[in-house]
C-alpha cells in the first residue's frame, strides 16, 4: 500500500517531537538516576565506614594490622566496594586492600583526613587511571583512633545510568512506532474519498457524467462531493445541447463536401497518372546519377591516393591536372601549387630540355611512351630520377587533347643500380676496375684498333714475393700493400689508360692511344721504379718488386683473353729471368706457348691411353751392398717424341691437374710390382724391399690422396710399412697445418714419409721435429758438390748428424762417382741411390736383377 502524500508532513512532525522527547527524557532521567544512585552509594559507603569505625573499634585500637586486614577483606566483598583502607590517628596506614600499593590520589586524601575536625566525614570523587571512585572517609572515635576510608566504584553507577537511558529510549521508540501506525490509518481515511473525487473530476472532463462516487459523510469532504455532483449535472446538460446543434450543421457541410469531392477525385486521378510517370523518370535518373558519382568517387580515390604521380599535360607543356603524389615527387606542397607554378615542363622540370622534345617525338610516333627515364629538378633544387609512362589522348577528330601519364620516383633504384654496376665492375679493395671491366675496355680498344689506326698495349703485372709478405706480415698489411701499389699504378698511368686488378697480386694495365712502343716501355719502367720504392705500412717499411709482361703487338688478336694470356706468359718469363723486370711478348714465346698447348693436348691423351711407364731406381744399403728398395719414377713414352722425362711434363701436369691421375697410376702400378717382387723373391732378398713414391706438392694437398693410397695398398696387398711417400720440402711448408694433418693420416695408414731434395728449400729444421718424418733424402746437388765444395761437404755432414740424432733414415741420391761414395761412407751414410750403382730400371730388368742375384755394383 502506497503511503498518501498527506502523510509526509505528520511523519516529519512526529520524528521531531519524539526525538525531542527522547533526548529530554533521557537527560533528565539519567541525571535523576545519577543523583539517586550517588546518594544511595554515598549512604552505603557512609554506613559501611560507620559500621567499620564502630564495630571493629577494638581491633583497630589494638593496632593489630593482621586483624584489621582480615576485617577489611570482608568489607571488600560487599558489592560496589572497591577498596577499604584504615589509617591511625596520625594518618599512618594500618591496612588496605590495594594491590600492589595505595594510589597517590588516595594517599593524598588519607593524609588530608588527619586534619578533619570531630565527626565530620569526607565525600569525594576520585579518579585513578581509568576508574572513578566515590571515596568516603570517616573518623573512628572522632579521629582519635584513626580513620576508615572506603572507595565505591562509580563505574557501576555509570553502567546503571547507561542501561536506564537505553531502556528509556527503547520505550520512546516503541511509542513512536505505535503513533506512526495510528497516524497512518487516520490519514488514509481522509485521503481515500479525496482520491475518489479527484478521479471523478477526471472522468467528468472526459464527458463521463455517470458513476458518481458514493460519499455520504457530512463533513467538508461530503459537501465537496455534493457540490461536484450538481456541477457535473449542469455541465452534462450544456454539452448535450451543443452537440445537437453541431450535428445538424455538420450534415449540411457533408453534402456540399461530397459534391466537391467527386470533382476533385476525377482531377486527381489524372494528375496521379502524370505524377507516376514523372516519378519513374526521376528514379531512373537518380540511379544513373548515383552510379556515375560512385564511379567518379572510385577513380578520384585512386587518382588521389596513388603512389605514382598521375598527370594530364597540354601539348604546350602545362599541367592540366595532377595528383598529390606528383606534387610530392616534384617537391610541391599540393597539386594546385604544382599546376599553378609550372607553365613549361620542358624547361622547368627536365634537367635536359631535349627530354621534352624526345617525349613529344616518341608520343607522336607511337601514341605512348614507356619507362621514359629522365633526370628532373625538384622544386627545392634536388635532382631526382623519374620514370614516366604516358599516352596521347585525342579527340574524335584525332587532334591531340592532352597527354596522360604516370610518374615514378626511381632515384633510389637508380642509385642502387649504379652501386651494383660499380660493384660488378670494380675491385672493392683497391677501387680499380676488375677483370670484367678491363676485358670490356680491352675489347673496345681492340675494336677501335680494327676500325682505325689506334695503338694500344697491355701490361700484365704480378708482385714478387707477395705471398711471403702476406704470410709473414698478415693479410691486412698485404691488402694495404695492394692498395698502395694500386695508387702507384694510377700515378704511372694516364687518364685514358685502364688500370685493373685481377685479384691476388695481379694487375693489368691497358695503355691506349700510345704513339710508339717506347711509350709503353717508359711507363713499364716507371711502374717498376714506383713499386720498388719502400712502402710504409703500419709503421713497417715494406719492400716489394713487380714482374711485368707486355704485349706491344696487339693487332691480330681475335679475343681479348688471348691477348691477356700472352701478357701473362711474358710476365712469367720475366719472373723466370729473375723477377723485378719486364718482358715483352715475342714470337719465340708465342711458339713456346703453342708448343706447350700441344704438349698439354698430348698429355691428356697420354693419361687416357696410359702412355706412362714406371721405372725403378734401386736404393742400396751400403752395409750389405744389397738392393733394399726402389724409388718409382715415371716415364712418358710419347708416340712421336719418344721417352719424355718427368721434368718436361710434370709441371704441365700439375698446372692442368693431370698430375693426380699420373701419380695414382704410378702408385697403383709400383705397389703391385713391388708386392709381386716381395712375394716372388721371398725371404732371400725380396721381402724387405721398400718402395718410394713421389707425390707432387699439388697432389699432396688433395684429400683424394689418402683414399688413393689406401686403395693402392689394399688392392696390391703391399704392407704399408714398405711404402715411403716422398714429398718435397715446399709441399710441406706451403700449408704446414694441412701438411701436418695429411702426414698424421698417412702415419695412421702405416706408411712412411720421406722428404725429397732435403736442404734445398727452407733452411728451417724445426719441421723435422714438427712433422712425423721417417726418411730424408739428401739432394743430389749437394752430393754433386762433395768432391771439392767444402760447403756441400759441411751440409751433407750436418744432415747425417742430424739424421742420426733425430733417428731418421738418410738416403743420399745421385751418387755417381766412387769418390762421392767414399765421402758418404766416411760420413756414415747407409743408403744411397745413383748411377754408380744402378740407373733406373724397367720392371723386367729388376726381375732379372733380383732373380740373378747379381746385386751390388
Amino acid at each position: 500500500m502506497k503511503a498518501p502524500k498527506l502523510f509526509l508532513k505528520p511523519l516529519l512532525f512526529m520524528v521531531v517531537i519524539f526525538g525531542m522527547i527522547s533526548v529530554v527524557s533521557s537527560v533528565t532521567f539519567g541525571n535523576r538516576l545519577k543523583r539517586e544512585m550517588t546518594r544511595e552509594y554515598e549512604s552505603k559507603a557512609l554506613a559501611l565506614a560507620g559500621s567499620m569505625a564502630e564495630s571493629d573499634i577494638v581491633t583497630i585500637l589494638s593496632r593489630d594490622a593482621g586483624s584489621v586486614q582480615a576485617r577489611i577483606d570482608q568489607y571488600k566483598q560487599i558489592a560496589g566496594v572497591s577498596y577499604v583502607l584504615v589509617a591511625d590517628e596520625h594518618g599512618e596506614i594500618l591496612a588496605h586492600t590495594f594491590v600492589p600499593d595505595v594510589p597517590p590520589a588516595v594517599r593524598a586524601l588519607v593524609s588530608k583526613t588527619r586534619d578533619l575536625p570531630g565527626d565530620e566525614y569526607i565525600l569525594r570523587d576520585i579518579v585513578d587511571g581509568d576508574s572513578r571512585y566515590l571515596h568516603v572517609a570517616r573518623p573512628i572515635l572522632s579521629g582519635l583512633a584513626g580513620y576508615v576510608h572506603i572507595g565505591m566504584d562509580s563505574e557501576i553507577i555509570a553502567t546503571h545510568i547507561r542501561e536506564a537511558v537505553v531502556e528509556q529510549q527503547l520505550v520512546t521508540l516503541i511509542l513512536f512506532a505505535a503513533s506512526l501506525i495510528i497516524a497512518f490509518i487516520f490519514i488514509m481515511n481522509i485521503s481515500k474519498p479525496l482520491n475518489l473525487l479527484a478521479e471523478y473530476a477526471g472522468r467528468v472532463a472526459n464527458k463521463d457524467f455517470d458513476s458518481v462516487p458514493e460519499i455520504n459523510s457530512h463533513d467538508e469532504v461530503g459537501q465537496l462531493a455534493h457540490a461536484m455532483r450538481s456541477m457535473a449535472w449542469h455541465i452534462s446538460e450544456l454539452v448535450s445541447n451543443l452537440e445537437e446543434r453541431v450535428r445538424s450543421k455538420t450534415q449540411e457541410l457533408k453534402e456540399a463536401r461530397d459534391a466537391l469531392r467527386q470533382k476533385v477525385e476525377s482531377r486527381t486521378s489524372e494528375l496521379l497518372r502524370a505524377n507516376t510517370q514523372l516519378k519513374i523518370e526521376i528514379a531512373e535518373r537518380k540511379v544513373i546519377g548515383e552510379a556515375l558519382r560512385k564511379a567518379e568517387r572510385k577513380y578520384r580515390t585512386i587518382f588521389e591516393n596513388a603512389l605514382e604521380g598521375i598527370y594530364q599535360t597540354s601539348p604546350s607543356g602545362r599541367f592540366l591536372s595532377a595528383n598529390p603524389s606528383l606534387a610530392r615527387i616534384l617537391g610541391f606542397k599540393s597539386a594546385d601549387e604544382l599546376m599553378g607554378s609550372v607553365y613549361d615542363i620542358g624547361t622547368q622540370m627536365y634537367m635536359e630540355p631535349q627530354r621534352r622534345k624526345e617525349f613529344l617525338r616518341l608520343i607522336e610516333e607511337t601514341g605512348e611512351v614507356k619507362n621514359f627515364v629522365s633526370k628532373v629538378r625538384r622544386r627545392d633544387g634536388r635532382i631526382i630520377w623519374i620514370s614516366e609512362n604516358a599516352r596521347r589522348i585525342s579527340d574524335s577528330d584525332g587532334a591531340v587533347m592532352c597527354y596522360e601519364g604516370s610518374v615514378e620516383d626511381i632515384t633510389l633504384r637508380k642509385k642502387a643500380e649504379d652501386q651494383l654496376k660499380r660493384q660488378a665492375f670494380h675491385d672493392p679493395l683497391t677501387g680499380l676496375p676488375n677483370r670484367a671491366l678491363f676485358l670490356d675496355h680491352l675489347r673496345m680498344a681492340m675494336e677501335r684498333g680494327r676500325r682505325r689506326k689506334h695503338l694500344f698495349a697491355v701490361i700484365y703485372m704480378d708482385l714478387d714475393r707477395f705471398k711471403v709478405i702476406n704470410d709473414s706480415l698478415g693479410h691486412e698489411t698485404g691488402d694495404e700493400l695492394l692498395r698502395n701499389v694500386a695508387r702507384v699504378l694510377e700515378k704511372c698511368g694516364r687518364t685514358v689508360d685502364t688500370i685493373a686488378r685481377f685479384g691476388g697480386d695481379e694487375f693489368a694495365i691497358l695503355l691506349e692511344e700510345i704513339s710508339a712502343p717506347r711509350d709503353t716501355i717508359a711507363i713499364a719502367r716507371r711502374i717498376l721504379e714506383g713499386v720498388r720504392q719502400p712502402f710504409t705500412i703500419n709503421g713497417n717499411e715494406v719492400f716489394t718488386s713487380a714482374s711485368l709482361g707486355i704485349v706491344l703487338k696487339t693487332d691480330g688478336y681475335d679475343r681479348p683473353e688471348a691477348l691477356l694470356r700472352d701478357a701473362d706468359t711474358a710476365m712469367y718469363r720475366a719472373k723466370e729471368h729473375g723477377k723485378a723486370r719486364f718482358k715483352v711478348f715475342n714470337q719465340k714465346m708465342h711458339d713456346q706457348a703453342l708448343r706447350l698447348m700441344a704438349l698439354e693436348t698430348d698429355l691428356r691423351r697420354a693419361v687416357d691411353l696410359r702412355e706412362f711407364e714406371v721405372v725403378y731406381q734401386p736404393i742400396v744399403c751400403l752395409d750389405t751392398r744389397r738392393v733394399c728398395g726402389f724409388e718409382a719414377l715415371v716415364r712418358w713414352r710419347h708416340p712421336e717424341h719418344g721417352v719424355i722425362m718427368p721434368g718436361d711434363f710434370i709441371s704441365l701436369a700439375e698446372d692442368t691437374g693431370l698430375i693426380y691421375s699420373i701419380d695414382n697410376l704410378v702408385l697403383v702400378e709400383a705397389c703391385a710390382q713391388v708386392k709381386h717382387w716381395q712375394s716372388t723373391f721371398g725371404a732371400r732378398m725380396g721381402e724387405h724391399l721398400t718402395l718410394n713414391i713421389n707425390i707432387s706438392g699439388k697432389h699432396f694437398g688433395q684429400p683424394l690422396l689418402l683414399s688413393q693410397v689406401t686403395r693402392a695398398l689394399g688392392d696390391s696387398g703391399l704392407h704399408p710399412e714398405s711404402l715411403n711417400i716422398e714429398i718435397t720440402e715446399s709441399a710441406l711448408m706451403d700449408n704446414p697445418a694441412m701438411a701436418e694433418e695429411v702426414l698424421k693420416q698417412l702415419k695412421i695408414l702405416g706408411t712412411k714419409v720421406c722428404i725429397d731434395d732435403f736442404g734445398t728449400g727452407y733452411s728451417s729444421l724445426s719441421y723435422l721435429q714438427r712433422f712425423p718424418i721417417d726418411v730424408v733424402k739428401v739432394d743430389r746437388s749437394f752430393i754433386d758438390g762433395v768432391e771439392g765444395n767444402l760447403d756441400s761437404q759441411a751440409i751433407v755432414r750436418t744432415v747425417f748428424t742430424l739424421g742420426q740424432s733425430l733417428g731418421l733414415k738418410v738416403v743420399a741420391e745421385g751418387v755417381e762417382t766412387p769418390d762421392q761414395l767414399a765421402f758418404l761412407e766416411r760420413e756414415g751414410c747407409r743408403y744411397v741411390q745413383g748411377f754408380l750403382f744402378y740407373k733406373p730400371l724397367s720392371a723386367g730388368e729388376v726381375d732379372e736383377l733380383l732373380s740373378g742375384g747379381s746385386i751390388g755394383s
Binding site: V58, S62, D64, A65, G66, S67, V68, Q69, A70, D73, L94, A95, H96, T97, F98, V99, P100, D101
Partner: protein, 378 residues
C-alpha cells in the same frame, strides 16, 4: 584439620599433613595413650577463608571433633576465630595452627588458640634486626594482600620503627596467584625505592615468582622470606627455573624458619622425625594430585612436632580425655622436650610454646643455617 590441599599453596598443606600423620600413625601403632588413638580428619580449604569456615562448622557440628588442629594459613585461620568464641560452650580449641599471625596470639580470640611455633612478628622482627645490624636499613616488603601478608608487613614495620626506621617501599599482591604470574611491575615499584633488602610475606609460588622477576630485572638484592613460604618448595621451583634458563635465582636468599634444620642430626627430634618420615606409609591426602612427596621438609617437620604435641596432650589426659581439660593440660606443659634443643612451655599467659626463629640461606642448592650475617654487610 583444614588446610590447602589444592591450589597455589597445596604442596604446603600436603607436606604439613604428611609430617603430622607420620607421628600420629606412629602414635596409634604404638597403642596410643592408654588405648586412646588419634584420628585426624583432613579437609581442603584451598587456602580460602570461606571453605575453611565451612569446614570448621562441619568439624564442630557434624563431626563433634576433640579439637581443631593444625590449621594452615593466616587468612583462613583468622576467619574462623569468631567461631571459637561462638562454640566456646563446647570448649572448642584450635591447636597449633601453621601461622604466625597475631590474632591467634592476642585478644579477643587468642584465648581459644594454642600456638606452638614462633610468631610472624618474631620472624620478621628477627629478620629486620639482623639485616639492620649488617647495615641493610632500607627494607622493603612484598606481601600478600590479606591478614597473613598484613601481619608480616606490620611485623616488619614495627621492627623498623623499633630501630627508628621506616619502610622503604611496599607492594601487595593478590592471594592465590600462580608461579607463572608476572611481577615485573611490583619489582619495579619496589626497586624504585632502592632498598637494601626485600622481605617477602607470601606463599612459595608468589615468592618464587617475585624472586625470578627481581633477578631477571638484574637486581641481586637479598630477599628474605618467612616460614610460611615453604622454603623447600620455593627452592625446588627456583632450582628448576635455574636449570631451565641458566640464570641464577638462589643467591642472596634468606629464609626464617620456626623449626630447626631437618639436616641437623645432632638433634634427637630430627633423628626421630627422619626415622618416622622414612617409614611413613600413609596414603596421600589428595590422591588425584600429581605430586611426589618430599622426603623431608621444614613444613612436614613442623607438622611432625605438632603431632608430638597433640600426642603429649592426649597422653596427659589419657585417663579421661575431654575437651574441657585442654586448658588444664596445656598449662601443665612446662619445659617439655621435643628433642629440638628448645623446651616447650605453655602457661596461662603463654599461648605459644616455642619462640626461636632459625635463619637459613641457600648454599649450593641446599638450605643451611646462617651462622654469620656479615656476609650481607653493607
Amino acid at each position: 584439620m583444614s588446610a590447602a590441599f589444592t591450589g597455589a599453596n597445596s604442596e604446603m598443606g600436603i607436606e604439613f599433613y604428611r609430617g603430622l600423620m607420620a607421628y600420629i600413625d606412629h602414635f596409634n601403632k604404638q597403642g596410643g595413650a592408654s588405648g586412646w588413638k588419634i584420628s585426624v580428619i583432613p579437609a581442603n580449604d584451598g587456602y580460602n577463608p570461606l571453605p575453611c569456615f565451612k569446614n570448621t562448622v562441619d568439624f564442630v557440628e557434624r563431626d563433634d571433633v576433640f579439637a581443631l588442629f593444625s590449621y594452615l594459613g593466616t587468612p583462613t585461620t583468622t576467619h574462623i576465630l569468631p567461631l571459637l568464641q561462638k562454640f566456646k560452650e563446647r570448649d572448642t580449641y584450635l591447636l597449633f595452627p601453621l601461622t604466625g599471625a597475631e590474632p591467634m596470639r592476642t585478644e579477643p580470640f587468642g584465648k581459644y588458640v594454642y600456638n606452638l611455633r614462633a610468631s610472624y612478628f618474631q620472624e620478621t622482627g628477627g629478620l629486620v634486626d639482623n639485616l639492620v645490624r649488617v647495615g641493610r636499613k632500607r627494607i622493603a616488603v612484598f606481601y600478600q594482600n590479606d591478614a597473613y601478608g598484613r601481619t608480616g608487613w606490620d611485623g616488619v614495620r614495627r621492627a623498623l620503627a623499633r630501630n627508628g626506621l621506616a619502610l622503604a617501599a611496599d607492594a601487595a599482591y593478590q592471594r592465590g596467584v600462580p608461579y607463572e604470574h608476572d611481577f615485573t611491575a611490583e619489582v619495579a615499584h619496589i626497586m624504585a625505592a632502592e632498598p637494601d633488602a626485600v622481605i617477602c610475606v607470601g606463599t612459595y609460588a608468589s615468592q618464587a615468582a617475585f624472586i625470578r622477576d627481581l633477578r631477571d630485572a638484574g637486581h641481586d638484592t637479598p630477599v628474605a622470606g618467612v616460614s610460611f613460604s615453604d622454603s623447600d618448595k620455593m627452592l625446588e621451583i627456583l632450582t628448576l627455573e635455574e636449570r631451565r634458563t641458566g640464570r641464577s635465582y638462589t643467591n642472596n636468599l634468606i629464609c626464617s624458619q620456626v623449626v630447626p634444620c631437618y639436616e641437623d642430626l645432632s638433634l634427637e627430634g630430627v633423628r626421630f622425625y627422619r626415622e618416622l618420615m622414612d617409614n611413613y606409609e600413609g596414603s596421600d591426602v589428595v590422591s588425584s594430585q600429581n605430586y611426589s612427596p618430599r622426603r623431608f621438609s621444614y613444613v612436614s617437620f613442623e607438622g611432625f612436632l605438632n603431632g608430638i604435641m597433640l600426642g603429649e596432650i592426649i597422653k596427659r589426659m589419657a585417663d579421661a580425655p575431654s575437651r574441657d581439660r585442654i586448658p588444664e593440660v596445656m598449662n601443665s606443659i612446662r619445659d617439655f622436650d621435643l628433642g629440638i634443643g628448645e623446651l616447650v612451655t605453655f602457661g596461662p599467659n603463654r599461648r605459644q610454646g616455642l619462640d626461636t626463629v632459625y635463619y637459613t640461606t641457600v648454599v649450593n642448592g641446599h638450605f643451611q643455617p646462617i651462622r654469620d650475617w656479615t656476609g650481607w654487610n653493607r
